[in-house]
Symmetry: C2
Subunit: 420 residues, 2 copies
């Protein structure tokens, strides 16, 4: 396992950005500088697309301020993609570029699809006898990767949502009218991890506090039950705050939405509209005033309200990826492991990329209360540690000071860019 | 002007909450404690409704922590209302309640409609020879009150929006695809003050940064121009961030919206839908991927991203209201006056309530660039000081620790609550 491998490293980012994906990048760069076997530190632009197009940048040329500032910068500083490597020529091209730049360490931050890509690249390198160590870095607000207790990005998105729900509830509670229904639509394509996180807006001993109702993709939606649920809340409270995951489906598996669905490159439907649908349903069925909020991409970019625990773990995952590769591991993804004790601790581990690629971690049904619209103790115990601490984002001119990399291009003078 | 008036004071909140309306309440209570002529410090629940219903609470009974915590609590801690006093019996009832509780100082935080109500109460008291000092406290995210340089609440809403726009832009810039159109809908019923504030997401020397296009209610909307504007941006940039005020209207004065409009108690239309309309328009006309965000009530409640300058001024306005009343002023609203110097300073002044009630401050057309979709130097100079500084909100369990008042009821043992 521990044979010394000398060469350059390449790090790239894939899939939807999170507010901490750049913290992992920062961790990779900081740790790579510690190891002499890693000569150059390259970044690939826009995930695998940048490798195919041979668009590499020199991360060692970036200033210390920039590498530190990445910890407070949302988006994906290297750019990301949803491109799926399919053709053999694509994979051949990746290895060709790796060889041309003597890339011996490849770190890929992403979700299931990205880890699948990393796995295939790793397997091909092994087949061809090209010495390459591939370590994936978990990244997704969706929290749906198996083998890891949770994923970097999740803690921050639910901290932002819980904060927003609590603030909106304070506003709604103040309105002098009765029967205000507030619908807050959050992300979550196929799982309710994100919507469930809204529960953290209230303590478990505050049953009358918002969110009053959480609609999860895991629980088949019924319009009749929704109307009855809202009525029930409004009999006791002046207002009703509803959180809904965008991936809400009815008993037949149809999306609850006013929009028509289209599919992206991975075959996922692009959702949106569940919130507006519920708003109209409440207003028309109950003759009440209903309002909606759609947080959209704001939620995964909200570094100004991100979790320090999440940020620290994202950075740690980046460091751990480099350490593992230098130690000789390959074809693995870094995982986050929760300690057994009563107080929360988190360490990193490793899992096979193929295991991540083929699994989807579901929100346990046993964490949902019998009412189908609230979370129980097990969810609180799981999620509460993930939102602790507030990242101290530097501000400039009244808004967060975000980093833009200098992006010094790496050139092997081959006239690359064949995919442009 | 300076005759001593002894009695109790009553403070109430009206209209839509802001993230700093409770900072003004905190200022009133803190300052009232300094003056011996003010005996009891009462709060009226839900604005004038609470006065009509004789629902008063004892603010002097609240803990110091609560009064301090109001500075970090969105919503309106006393509750608010949109009830408009119309009938003579309503006004008579207000004075009856004031007399019963020896209310000699009345502070009302609100926008135009609320200041109009305060003015009418004040005039009636004068007519009836009831010694009462009425001072309004400016409060509205809409920034549309005349005679004041700006209104408490405005700085915080635009700080949150500019922050959100900058963060979303970092996310969108990272996406590996071209031609992503992002629509962000913000509040602003009849003026573009709030939408204009999104401009602060970029410095004026960053023309290619987001927001790329801002659609204001002041500029008649044309679908053709919108499509051409977006195309123009996408020829130069990979993505296009559009900010739109909910009150966008076309050349005929019709709201640009997918929703049907309904009117509230003051005859204002309840808007929403401009963002979704533009999203669909971009997607269908340009065959591009378009996404929308609707910040809704999140924007006026986002104390976690509020402006320290705004918070300080809101507090100051509350203090100034009490000082003015004690000095003998009445039938006035506190105004914020900007100093003449190069560096920003702000003092309070006073203006006639009737002047506020009957005016609406428009966004100067000369602050909008000729392209109709961006703001010029004058707007930056005006707005930038208002978003400076970050309020240090205390957190508990990973979310902002908001205050809930103890609400000790004030009772004159009359079996009040006649309006329930």
């Amino acid at each position: 396992m521990s044979e010394q491998l000398e060469g350059n490293c390449l790090v790239a980012q894939s899939g939807g950005p999170t507010s901490v994906i750049n913290a992992s990048l920062s961790g990779v760069v900081a740790e790579a500088l510690n190891h002499e076997c890693i000569e150059e530190i390259y970044g690939g632009l826009n995930g695998v697309l940048g490798i195919l197009n041979e668009q590499l940048i020199d991360l060692a040329a970036e200033s210390q301020q920039n590498i530190r500032g990445l910890r407070y910068t949302p988006g994906a500083a290297l750019g990301t993609c949803r491109y799926k490597l399919k053709r053999q020529t694509d994979f051949d091209r990746v290895l060709e570029v790796f060889e041309a730049h003597n890339i011996r360490y490849f770190f890929y931050a992403g979700g299931n699809d990205s880890q699948d890509t990393a796995d295939k690249i790793s397997k091909l390198a092994q087949e061809r006898g090209y010495a390459l160590r591939v370590i994936g870095i978990p990244k997704t607000i969706d929290n749906d990767l198996v083998t890891t207790d949770h994923t970097p990005g999740y803690g921050s998105v639910i901290k932002y949502i819980a904060t927003t729900v609590k603030e909106i509830a304070a506003d709604n509670a103040a309105m002098g009218q009765h029967d205000l229904v507030q619908i807050i639509e959050v992300m979550g394509r196929s799982a309710g991890w994100i919507a469930a996180g809204a529960a953290l807006a209230k303590r478990r001993d505050e049953p009358s506090a918002a969110p009053h109702l959480i609609y999860l993709p895991e629980v088949a939606f019924s319009a009749e039950k929704f109307i009855s649920d809202v009525q029930h809340v409004l009999q006791k409270e002046k207002y009703c705050v509803v959180v809904v995951g965008e991936g809400l489906v009815d008993a037949d598996g149809n999306y609850v939405s006013t929009d028509s669905a289209t599919a992206d490159a991975f075959g996922h439907s692009q959702l949106g509209g569940a919130g507006e649908y519920l708003r109209a349903l409440a207003e028309e069925s109950l003759q009440v005033k209903a309002r909606s909020v759609k947080l959209g991409m704001a939620q995964r970019a909200a570094v100004h309200c991100s979790s320090q625990a999440d940020n620290d773990e994202a950075y740690l995952a980046g460091q751990a990826a480099v350490e593992a590769a230098v130690e000789g591991h390959t074809d693995k993804m870094v995982t986050l492991l929760r300690g057994e004790g009563d107080s929360y601790t988190c360490e990193t581990g490793l899992a096979d990329l193929s295991e991540i690629a083929n699994g989807v971690k579901k929100l346990p049904e046993s964490w949902i209360n019998e009412d189908g619209v609230s979370m129980n103790y097990n969810f609180y115990k799981y999620a509460l540690p993930l939102i602790q601490g507030e990242v101290k984002v530097p501000y400039e001119n009244g808004v967060p000071a975000l980093v833009q990399l200098k992006m010094e291009k790496v050139d092997r003078k081959l006239g690359a860019h064949i995919f442009e």
